[in-house]
């Protein structure tokens, strides 16, 4: 496996090439630009047999690769910050279409004022949309995550698009050693994309997206959530398979660094996890038992894994490189949720897509909940979907 010195962005391009992507569309934005440039170069020089669509905006970039995915091709795009916001509508659309697709997101701050540097607002802003969302710590992981994203996204238990986040400049423009697997090795593990779960083509007789009854809509959304839950398993599996192939594994949804004997844990995601690990080592040298839980996948969110490991800790510190204004760090709230709160709590997802939820529905649901609490003492449910 040849090792190369690559920037994060060129690593993305290498991975896209290894994945034998067929259609690429992307729009330049700092600090993602060198991905587009490199891919354009590869396509023009025949290093990769793909069609590149030089779109006029990010909305069109994602719409184009989405169209390509609907047409059965393996497709890829990349963006950052305002580009991601500008395509946001299509981000939602692509996920609910259940088409496999991969996008690299080079994380960057959102203006005003203009700022091209790293920040996680852009990628965290996508957390509701139904995309698998992963975050790399270094360029090696960038390569591995991009390749794995195709596998996960195209897995029949998942069929959701996948985003791979890499930190702007910290990875995108930092050159570091990356083991690049041979094409044959990747080929053996990542076969050509199958025309699944459906393809829009002459004769397919398939219409994607016309109006359903509200209840059917709600079921579709529930099925996305199921696919997310499936993805948790798939991600861990892929991590193992990949290990067999390359000798590298990361721990699936979360990487726990020195957490086994820790009393305090730092939770975060992205490149600065390296700094946190280094800091943990130093603190340990000084007798403070610190570990790091690096969230590799924001979506599906590793609630169970975190809970398992962190519930017994004395202190948990969540670092957010973004903020949900008027509340706080988005990872923070979700980590706290994973560690549960004091009263019995049940989260109900209902009424989505207009499904009528009336007085009697509430009455029944609350009554059942009360009964359960009274019987079981303490109840905790994350997302109960009513009537599905």
């Amino acid at each position: 496996m040849p090792r190369k010195i690559l920037t994060g962005n060129h690593t993305v391009a290498e991975a896209v090439k290894l994945a034998r992507v067929q259609v690429i569309a992307a729009y330049p934005i700092t600090p993602q630009t060198t991905i587009v440039e490199k891919l354009a170069e590869m396509v023009e020089h025949g290093e990769i047999e793909a069609k590149m669509i030089r779109v006029e905006s990010e909305h069109s970039a994602l719409a184009a690769v989405y169209g390509a995915a609907a047409g059965g091709a393996r497709a890829f795009t990349a963006t950052s910050s305002h580009g991601l916001l500008y395509m946001h509508e299509v981000v939602w659309w692509a996920a609910a279409s259940r088409l496999p697709l991969v996008m690299a997101v080079v994380t960057r701050a959102i203006g005003p004022p203009w700022n091209i540097h790293v920040s996680h607002e852009d990628i965290m802003d996508q957390r509701d949309t139904g995309w698998i969302i992963s975050m790399a710590e270094d360029n090696q992981e960038v390569l591995d995550l991009v390749l794995q994203a195709f596998r996960i996204s195209e897995d029949e238990r998942v069929y959701l698009p996948a985003m791979v986040g890499l930190d702007g400049f910290l990875l995108s423009h930092t050159a570091m050693p990356v083991d690049v697997p041979e094409q044959e090795v990747v080929d053996s593990w990542l076969p050509p994309r199958l025309p699944r779960p459906y393809v829009i083509e002459p004769g397919s007789g398939v219409i994607m997206g016309n109006i359903p009854p509200d209840e059917a809509f709600y079921r579709m959304r529930h099925s996305m959530q199921r696919a997310m839950y499936n993805a948790k398993r798939v991600i861990e599996e892929v991590d193992e398979e990949y290990y067999k192939m390359t000798g590298r594994r990361y721990g699936g949804l979360v990487e726990f660094y020195r957490c086994d004997d820790a009393k305090y844990v730092v939770v975060l995601m992205g490149t600065w996890a390296g700094n946190a690990k280094e800091a943990a080592d130093r603190l340990r040298e000084r007798g403070i038992p610190v570990g790091v839980a690096r969230i590799r996948y924001v979506r599906p969110f590793p609630r169970e894994r975190l809970r398992e490991k962190l519930l017994g800790m004395k202190g948990v510190m969540v670092f957010d490189r973004s903020v949900s204004m008027g509340r706080g760090g988005p990872l923070h709230a979700e980590v706290v949720e994973a560690l549960e709160a004091k009263p019995s709590i049940m989260g109900v997802v209902a009424g989505v897509g207009g499904v009528d939820v009336g007085v009697r529905d509430f009455e029944k649901l609350v009554e059942d909940f009360v009964k359960k609490v009274e019987e079981e003492g303490r109840v905790y449910v994350n997302d109960y979907w009513y009537g599905v």
């Binding site: 400049f169 050159a175 050693p177």
Partner: protein
């Protein structure tokens, strides 16, 4: 131990490339490295900064180099514009493209080399500017001994195949020979 480098140059001089080549050379020796620019708009002629780290172990730190072991100055005029010594560790190394001793005070080792002169003597110019980033690497090798001259030369050649590579490699070699410690 991680060695940390900071390169000072001007937009167009290739400070980032110098950092990358250095890391590439280390990589040829089985070591690990990291090279990155300071993330701002790079304008031709404007002062720019780049960083590198080299280590025997994989590097997982991702922060700006705050206390470099080595500072490399590609353009002597920068002394007047920026504090190139900022954060340089005690006993650290300063490598300057200069014909004369910049007269630095402080607990540092100072090396100079006329990288501009070397570049021009070899006809190394891009858009009228002398290419100093490859030549100065030779001086860095001399000053730090962290990587071998061969590795730097190989790295340069694999970056620019053909005549360009030869000339740049030659520049590094010459700089290696000519660099002198002045402090």
């Amino acid at each position: 131990m991680i060695e940390e480098y900071r390169f000072h140059g001007r937009g167009g001089q290739g400070a980032v490339t110098a950092a990358r080549l250095l890391v590439g050379a280390a990589h040829r020796e089985g070591r690990y490295g990291q090279a990155f620019p300071h993330f701002g708009a790079e304008r031709r002629g404007a002062p720019v900064v780049a960083f590198a780290r080299i280590s025997d172990r994989p590097i997982r730190v991702h922060e700006q180099v705050r206390e470099p072991d080595v500072v490399v100055v590609l353009d002597p005029t920068l002394f007047k514009l920026v504090n190139v010594l900022e954060g340089l560790r005690e006993g650290g190394v300063l490598v300057v493209n200069s014909k004369e001793d910049p007269g630095i005070q402080g607990p540092y080792k100072v090396f100079i080399v006329d990288a501009t002169g070397i570049a021009l003597s070899l006809g190394l110019r891009v858009a009228g500017w002398p290419v100093v980033n490859t030549s100065i690497l030779g001086a860095v090798v001399k000053a730090t001994g962290s990587v071998s001259l061969d590795s730097v030369v190989d790295e340069i050649k694999s970056n620019w195949p053909g005549r360009m590579g030869e000339a740049n490699a030659q520049a590094a070699k010459l700089a290696y020979e000519k660099a002198v410690r002045v402090r």
